[in-house]
Symmetry: C2
Subunit: 336 residues, 2 copies
């Protein structure tokens, strides 16, 4: 009897929600609970924290001991969303006004800062040895740093000249690579996994994270990103996508300059005709196909990394490696 | 031969600066180093981190072992300044444009986030036992949380009706109480100080921090806050000061309403006549004298706490308690 990953995520998700409500009680009059729960109530699938617990269990650890770390993972995720919404000037998220729009810029920034401190508080509550706690704190902190370094490159790459696919890969590896894996790594630390296992989990993130991001870039050109189904919002925001990086390299000088001018326009000044022109340029230069090929190759690498996991069967209910294959399949499907 | 506190601060200050440059190397092209060093280069006296090292030494510890924590204290301080400047809409700091003005809002927020992660990285580098490291992380995290909770109250108290001096005290105790003491507490943890000593250091902060803040409120009405010597910038910002809280309680209903209207005006719409009217109202109701009395009483409590420190003479060069009396005297003088 093996449980589907989707079911395990759902099962663990409600445990995470319970602890989340303990760590940041809703309905407090502290000017933090309200903006934070306005954001948390808009949803979220708790995938990253659930993968932390699933990993811990698969490696023979007690997922209860990893639970505070899993909640820290979820809190950090939401902290980044809060601050990113401000940095990107996004006014809506999941059909609700974003926190800074509803509660003001100052409360938006401050609520994000509070989430980060609360996340550390959670990590410090893991009932594991001092050595494991310090390892968890190290995993958490280095991931924070890398993600923020990636965000710094992202912010400043908007409409950048000579933005190459190498630049793009460096950016997304920093911004998404650690971030995708660190919940799983935390679960592995709690389970007392060997260094070799932990290294492979990091490698998994370094390929699957960017694959995820590239496919996210592609979705923007096909189905839109769920903000009312509009296509091309990355173009309006001037976001340095894989498609932009690819096209920068192969376009003519005149095309590149016009592309760049459009990317640099403030969102509200970018016309639908601008977006259509960019989409056509991307198409002409095979940007979507190139993106697809790169994402496929990264996913293949991610699966190879899973195959290389130096694992004995440690899981209580089924072979550990199969769990990780299932996770990889689940993540790969999500990014399609 | 006893060293003056001012000299010890200067001596330790340069050690802190050295490590700061290691932790966040200047001149990197990572879109973080530049905005951060734009801010760090505007100065700062490194008082909080120096007090961490002085405390560690006075309690018989090795200040070298506390150095990474001291740097974390300094980094956190600057992280708060970066984000506060955005939250308050301050465009200038020490005669330089603030980071968000020079590098944009997104870079300002992100650079602050990075500083917080780097600060944790520093704490994790303290060469002390795992137990002490976890204690340091706990001290650091709980201080972060309290300071941000205080900031949340501060942001939302602007122009609030029925803002009492009790509300004010709760706000500044959260915002400044832990923050003033946590460097010293960290130094004490590294030195292996007894729980009783650590408790008294926290108590010291809880009285000296608010005293400092009240006097900061008073300075705004007399000498100005160094932003070109302008008086009354707290009034223009609508900042919930002790003077505002005191006057709210004793003013007539009509005065209170006019006062509140002025506090709620956007900064650029507050006229000089508005500021003069508020100053006169504060004077009429003895706000400055009340503030002075409260600050004096808090400072007296802080000195009493120092006297109660359960200390043997542990310092290598002079009686430890005298060091803390000197620190208290130094802090009290700074706040005058």
């Amino acid at each position: 009897m093996t449980e589907r990953i989707e079911d395990a995520i759902k099962r663990y998700g409600s445990r995470i929600d319970d602890l989340l409500r303990e760590v940041i009680p809703p309905g407090q009059s502290d000017c933090l609970s309200e903006p934070i729960w306005h954001h948390l109530s808009t949803g979220g699938k708790r995938i990253r924290p659930a993968l932390c617990l699933i990993t811990c269990e698969a490696l023979g650890g007690n997922p209860e001991h990893a639970l505070p770390f899993a909640v820290a993972v979820e809190i950090l995720h939401n902290m980044f969303l809060l601050h990113d919404d401000i940095e990107d000037g996004d006014t809506m998220r999941r059909d609700q006004p974003t926190v800074w729009v509803k509660f003001g810029l100052a409360n938006g920034i401050n609520a994000g800062d509070y989430l980060l401190a609360r996340a550390y508080s959670c990590v410090l509550k893991c009932p594991v040895s001092a050595e494991k706690q310090l390892k968890l704190l190290d995993v958490f902190t280095s991931t924070c740093e890398k993600t923020i370094q990636g965000q710094a490159l992202d912010i400043n790459a908007r409409g950048r000249e000579n933005f190459t696919t190498d630049d793009y890969m460096r950016l997304v590896e920093l911004k998404t690579g650690g971030y995708l894996a660190f919940g799983m790594v935390g679960g592995a630390v709690v389970a007392g996994a060997a260094e070799g296992v932990i290294e492979k989990l990091w490698s998994f993130g370094k390929t699957m994270g960017p694959a995820f991001q590239i496919r996210d870039d592609m979705i923007d050109l096909t189905a839109g990103k769920g903000r009312g189904g509009a296509i091309g919002s990355d173009i309006k925001e001037g976001k340095p996508s894989f498609l932009y990086a690819h096209t920068c390299r192969v376009a003519t000088e005149a095309q590149r300059q016009r592309l760049r001018r459009i990317m640099l326009k403030p969102r509200e000044k970018t016309t639908d005709a601008d977006v259509r022109w960019v989409l056509k340029l991307y198409e002409k230069h095979g940007a979507l196909a190139a993106a697809q090929a790169r994402a496929d190759s990264l996913v293949a690498q991610a699966f190879k990394t899973i195959d290389e996991l130096p694992l004995q069967d440690a899981g209580p209910s089924r072979p550990a490696k199969q769990v990780f294959r299932d996770i990889a399949t689940f993540m790969a499907r999500r990014t399609t």
